[in-house]
Symmetry: C2
Subunit: 293 residues, 2 copies
């Protein structure tokens, strides 16, 4: 039974997870070394305690959850492994990031070599503000500690004892949701530039109304997340290539989020819903950015 959970790092997803655990009776700590002002504010808001350095983090925490952009996951694991070796303690380290299974196996090796218990985990759904909306998939040889989080407000779903399964389901799932969003963003932008936007909208409303509704609901809030999705699309691309499938669809999705991330829309914070453009405004802005390149 965990008493203290460490969260690296308390960004949009991480601080919400930390808040749920804290409200359900756990102590939640983090180490804000080198983190942004925004992350510091989110940690404070969620009642997450800051400890000054990693050796203290690994000493006090029974379980560490790594929740961050894919590009940072490996160095976070390496820092924790370093600290584990320095202070001669043990804990469970759950990498909850959107990472290719073959990469998560390497990452897990670093933790287990340092004496930690490694859990491959993944998060499907939004930050868990509302019960029932978010699943925490987990796989690995010892899921006991991580699975206890079921009693502290999270919905944990074990997938088996093999490292990589939890990452695999995340890769496949996110390729649908974020891959489709990238495709829709691209085709609507193309239609705008090609002068068939109104006709295409009418055709979609006639024959693809559910998908068009999804675009209207989902696309306007995407730009603030576009930059962090680039790396996730690249991880999925690597996952698909690793099993012999084409990397190109997801490489293209990464291209799209790189393009959207290059616009001023990506500077909005994700919670600034009032400032989001409409779907039509978003596409006009993207088409304009395209032309000026």
């Amino acid at each position: 039974m965990p008493n203290t959970v460490g969260i690296l790092s308390p960004g949009d997803m991480g601080h919400t997870v930390g808040n749920v655990l804290r409200q359900n009776g756990l102590r939640v700590i983090t180490c804000l070394q080198g983190r942004s002002q925004r992350t510091r504010q989110l940690a404070e808001k969620a009642g997450i305690e800051d400890v000054p350095a990693y050796p203290q983090l690994v000493t006090e925490a029974d379980l560490i959850l790594s929740i961050m952009v894919p590009a940072q996951a490996m160095s976070a694991a390496a820092a924790v492994a370093d600290a584990l070796q320095q202070v001669d303690t043990s804990l469970t380290y759950a990498d909850c990031n959107a990472i290719a299974p073959q990469t998560v196996r390497k990452l897990g090796g670093i933790i287990t070599a340092a004496g930690g218990n490694f859990v491959d985990a993944s998060i499907i759904g939004p930050p868990p503000r509302n019960p029932g909306a978010t699943r925490f998939y987990a796989s690995g040889p010892n899921l006991d500690t991580f699975s206890e989080l079921n009693d502290y407000g999270l919905d944990v779903r074990p997938l088996g004892d093999e490292i990589g399964l939890a990452s695999a389901i995340k890769m496949c799932y996110a390729s649908l949701t974020k891959g489709l969003t990238a495709l829709c963003t691209e085709l609507l932008t193309a239609a705008q530039v090609l002068g068939v936007s109104d006709a295409l909208t009418a055709e979609f409303q006639l024959s693809q109304s559910a998908l068009f509704q999804r675009m209207e609901n989902g696309l306007p809030g995407m730009p603030p997340k576009a930059r962090r999705w680039i790396g996730e699309m690249e991880e999925i691309s690597a996952t698909f290539a690793h099993v012999g499938l084409t990397p190109n669809i997801l490489t293209g999705a990464a291209d799209m989020y790189r393009f959207v991330g290059s616009t001023h829309l990506a500077d909005l914070p994700p919670e600034a819903r009032d400032e989001f453009p409409t779907l039509a405004e978003l596409i006009q802005i993207l088409a304009k950015n395209l032309k000026s390149e």
Copy 2:
């Protein structure tokens, strides 16, 4: 007002269109030079008359509809342009194929240089067996003859006088429907290989039920069409690249249809619904083909 419509060529889509026009009182002809036995049978079934050569086709037809795979569209237009110059006649030539706008403009130039009236057209929806299911978009400087087909059972929708608009709407629309199908095929195959198929299916049924329903309905009938969709995906890829967007998503969709087209499932005729696999069977077959590569 057209009396005789030529159709090149009466394949799955073409013979159905021809059948509608014939049933609505038009004479429909084709030239089966070099066409497959299957196309000959479809033409006969639809009551489409075969004329021995292109000069006769262009002499007798007031309007020619080009309906074929993208790779054949340019040589069909060249053959008709040749014939037009030989027999000193005129007619309206509508390219109804899934072709990039920049390519259709070149193709149109060949027809107009030979004295023909060129219409950029595109078909959205299934072969028009049921009224209201299929739209025939059209653009170009003179749409009069083509628009008359509205009185003969087709739903013609003019988009303006610019060649390229009708092709553009088709490219953007098909990128959604066929691009999404390619993405779904890829991610389900990956999930199968990675051992998370059941968990992903359960997650989709929980949180993406509409999209999963779409996969169950749409994917099993896709393999017989996969080979002809390769070229269409490449045309869309070229369309997006031409306006400065990434070609990669649609290049990847072409890769997926090339892969599916390499399996025995692609040898089934599209009307063999009874022989289609279930979604789960389809994905198992694809995963097996992947492993044996």
